[in-house]
Assembly symmetry: C2
Homo-oligomer: 322 residues x 2
Amino acid sequence: MSTLARIARLSGFSKATVSRVLNHSPHVSPETREKILAIMKEKDYVPNRNAISLSKGQTQQIGMITMDLNELILRFMNGFVEISGRHGFQTIIYTTGGDKEKELQALEDLKRKRVDALLILTSVNDKNVISSYCKYGPIVSWQRMDHPDIPSVAMNQYDGYALAMEHLIEKGYTRIANAFGRPSSINTRSRRLAYEQIMANNNLPVIEKWYYSSIYRIVDGEQLMQSLMGETDRPDAILCSNDLVAAGVLSEARRQRIDVPRDLAIIGFDNSELSRTLGITTVRNPIAGQAENAFLLMAPALLGRNMELQPLSFSLVKRETT
Amino acid sequence: MSTLARIARLSGFSKATVSRVLNHSPHVSPETREKILAIMKEKDYVPNRNAISLSKGQTQQIGMITMDLNELILRFMNGFVEISGRHGFQTIIYTTGGDKEKELQALEDLKRKRVDALLILTSVNDKNVISSYCKYGPIVSWQRMDHPDIPSVAMNQYDGYALAMEHLIEKGYTRIANAFGRPSSINTRSRRLAYEQIMANNNLPVIEKWYYSSIYRIVDGEQLMQSLMGETDRPDAILCSNDLVAAGVLSEARRQRIDVPRDLAIIGFDNSELSRTLGITTVRNPIAGQAENAFLLMAPALLGRNMELQPLSFSLVKRETT
DNA sequence: TTGAAAGCGTTACCAC
DNA sequence: GTGGTAACGCTTTCAA
């Protein structure tokens, strides 16, 4: 195994000079550089990362914490991996499965300098517990943390929902059902607010009996549609918490011979792969952009320079269900 | 920032003794241990991982290389993360996007001791290039590599396919179409062999005109079903390369008012989340078991002791499409 | 049971 | 431009 010291010995130069070559220092004569590089190549030398990390006090690794992995999380991760890779950082994933202890392990890894920074996608520990680790390195979150030390890149769902609402009303749909996700989450509150305000703006009645919550997956969507079929008074549009739900609603509607979009409009959320294949109108969530911003928020601490966050916005992807 | 040296100074003992406490060495008196532990707690001490890694020459990190992330890969990864975590190893993901250069970076990381071992899920570089890194640490692959130095945990798809075939025949389906994946892959060959042999064993005719290949996704399944509708001579069962394809076939069949499973049986592969929600009969692929075996193959090099691989087998999950 | 000191493989500061 | 050398924070002999 060849080391920097060995290269120094073989080349006749000092370790310092060899190190300079490694780090592209301008204070090395071209001949020296060539000579040393040649020996490195010959001896198949590569610097030991641990030694570098120890010496520099930085590992060039960033940890990503999540309870589980799903399509959305993956899209965020991929975006984050991409930009951090461009800046020379590797990423390591901590899947906690919702276990507080496992999550703490990840936080401890910031303290013990295994990672230089942490990205939280979904967490289970109390925000004050988490924020107590901020002194060891930058921590940025996707989900809102409501803590001054932990910035979040989450977007206000109001805007995305509003886009969908306006589209529906413009198309003439007014009897709108809402399939919400977590009952009292901030996102649900924002979405509900968007629905109510835009209905009011258009002098349309808010129909609370068509509020559904805890609707997350395909089956939930199917069941929702089924229970709707049992009633005489039915909505002419359903705004879904995500694309999975929309897919469930759509497939059940087809099974029930309902003409989509003539008799029922369906809108999903997130613009996932599934919505594309099934042709579901949906709201595009700029996830890669949020991931990028997450890294940019860490940049000052990591790279020593501020970087401008990019402005993000939702957009509507019109397909065959509206 | 407290270091081991500081703890030693404060406690009045040497660094060696403090290190012994850290590593649960039996050669420390209980009182000394207590005293030192108390000071560690008080000073909020945690050992620096880089220093440990450098000193030991091991990082306790394993790299996982993949071109991209999908549900199957994730299941494998989760299984691997789980077992390696139990043995004190963390995992780091290298997503290459099919870029040979990026993949090489990961291999270099084995050389520069950022990771102790590598797990290859999908790779793009030549097996000889990859195997040239074997001298730096254990490399295990999911996909078959056909190289003596790189063991694989892939399973013989013949067995899984045979299970599905026998189930179909037992149920009375004989006019079977096959939706294969990559045209000339080893998996496709095994599956095709299984189909042909089992048909032969039952004195049934092999129908090559119903061989389809390069069928991977939902839309591919839908299209396959559509093209089948145009013909007069139709199969009474379709064996799909994976659950996505089966989902596509199923949804298109429903759209075309075909009675599943009376007029058409559908079997998927992998027992994914989707097959469960849609009620598709499928072949369960013991992915977590394979992931576990992947770690066990590394165990000798990593832990210094041999571990017995567990025997794995496919099984059939019967649902509503057969 | 404990301590002293030599690694581990780099970087970075200070001379020259 | 180049070299000497002290960090970085731990583990691991070898003695005592």
